[in-house]
Amino acid sequence: MTSFLATGPSLGGSRVGAWLAGLSLRSRILLISAEVVVMLALWQLVVGVFRWINPVFVPAPLSIFSGLGDILSSGAVAANAPASLQAWVVGFGLALVIAIPLGLLLGVSLPVDRIVGPIAWAIYATPSVAYQPLAKAWFGFGIGPVVFLVLVSAVFPIMFNLAAGIRTTNTSIISAAKVYGASKFRLYPAIYLPSTVPFLFAGLRQGVVLATIGMMVAELSGAAVGMGALIIRSTNTYQVGQAFAAIMLVVIFTISMVQVTTLVERWVAPWTRGAGK
């Protein structure tokens, strides 16, 4: 989120803007927290008190909160979250297993890049939602289609980012290593790996977000269990508060997985700290 700090062009200076720009990070966080509270209060007023918006469609914050209590205490989350988590982890794991060797090959070998590349791009350009009915017909109604969609959604960003990382490795560093007598096998861990890791993790973060979208698509359209199935059931029984609570849990899951990826990156590859988002 570099946009916080960027100056950008200004057409006619505004005093509010200048004051806000001068705030410290902590005051900004305070300001945003205050905003959240005000917005939630307004939302509660508009929907819950004045009923300007039909609360069946957009429930008030308090009814989402009570919906959260309901799905947690009724065991709905305990019954559905593990299925989603399992499908996500298996699908993402498979995506890693496939994407890392393929991405390496794509980055290193020109024939693979020219032959596999275009085919992979054509599949990647099509949103994974298109493959969902096929997955359902092939893998039945269990966890299979969800795993498949998570895999298809996550594999390409990881693969392409990895390949891009290898291809953009600074050639003068490679030449320098060669001058100092680095063998081909020394070159990979010593030169390619460190410069590719930031790309790999950028791909992993994209993969995490897309994997969750794939999981939701698969679960919403016809899974028996999972958070998506819970959202569908709650919506169809007009318990939209519960549906929003379930969506909130999925959102928290996605954001925490992205954060976990970033933490792993800092731990595994501390030299990337501060580089890229």
């Binding site: 298109a130 994209q206 919506t235 954001i255």
Partner: protein
């Protein structure tokens, strides 16, 4: 290459550069690989019966189904329904996204107070809201257009904002010194710098809008190509299902390609990276 230095003679292997092969050669090889793949598929399904053909039909069966699809007027009306919804939703998303994005880019006050929420919304899987859209807006076009808009607006908006931020304030000041009006600053300095970013956002928006439209059709069937696909797969007409998936692959690739061409035409100075 051999280099003589004070410490002796060093022998350096010349860089093994890939032999230059022309683009056409690669295209021919790519076509051959695809043909070989189709041949193996055909052999596995139709000749050796390794895979049951009602599970994965042979390429010939899929192409027959594709041929039937192309002459079927229902298919064209379904495609028109889906593309029409997408076009309306995307047009709204682009209009709102570019307008709000530029406003956010130009106003630090708005950016500090609003942008964090937009980033949060951008990274949340909004597809999860699809059932609620169907519930609130019904089974017709409105719910799909709403979903397309919701999924597509954030990439356009945030990319436009980032693009506006890359404009150097000194350029704006220089233009003003030379007496440029607010309008011409906007048109001649901010728009050209922002455009490539917006187009990258629009490329993402098309993919996400497609997801919204098709998922909306899966959940609340009232026509559309997604509904047609779902129905074919449900009936286990895998040849027709694969043909429709093929159509979707073509449509997505064509629309992304089209935007790439627009990007190269309108912003030739922008390096063409496949934006996803």
């Amino acid at each position: 290459m051999t280099i003589s230095s004070a410490t002796g003679i060093i022998h350096i292997d010349p860089d093994r550069r890939p032999i230059k092969t022309s683009n056409t050669t690669w295209r021919i090889r790519l076509t051959l690989v695809i043909l070989a793949f189709l041949l193996i598929w055909q052999a596995a399904v139709a000749w050796f019966k390794l895979i049951p053909s009602n599970f994965l039909p042979a390429p010939t069966e899929v192409s027959v189904a594709f041929g039937e699809l192309v002459v079927n007027p229902n298919f064209w009306s379904a495609l028109a329904f889906s593309l029409g919804n997408m076009a309306v939703g995307l047009a709204m998303a682009i209009g709102v996204g570019v307008f709000v994005g530029i406003a956010l880019g130009l106003s630090p006050a708005l950016r500090i107070t609003v942008a964090p929420f937009l980033w949060l919304l951008y990274s949340t899987p909004k597809v999860a809201l699809a059932p609620i859209f169907i519930l609130a807006l019904g089974l017709g076009s409105a719910s799909k257009i709403g979903l397309v808009f919701l999924l597509a607006v954030f990439p356009v908006l945030l990319n436009t904002m980032e693009g506006t931020l890359t404009v150097s304030p000194s350029l704006v000041n220089a233009a003003r010194v030379y007496g440029a009006s607010r309008f011409s600053v906007g048109w001649k300095i901010i728009a050209p710098a922002t455009l490539p970013f917006s187009l990258v956002g629009i490329q993402r928006a098309v993919a996400l809008g497609f997801t919204g439209e098709i998922l909306g059709e899966f959940l609340g069937g009232a026509g559309g190509i997604g509904h047609m696909l779902e129905y074919a797969a449900y009936k286990f007409l895998m040849d027709e299902a694969l043909a429709i998936v093929f159509v979707m692959v073509i449509v997505s690739n064509l629309s992304l390609g089209l935007i790439s061409i627009v990007r190269r035409k309108l912003a030739p100075w922008d390096t063409d990276q496949k934006g996803m």
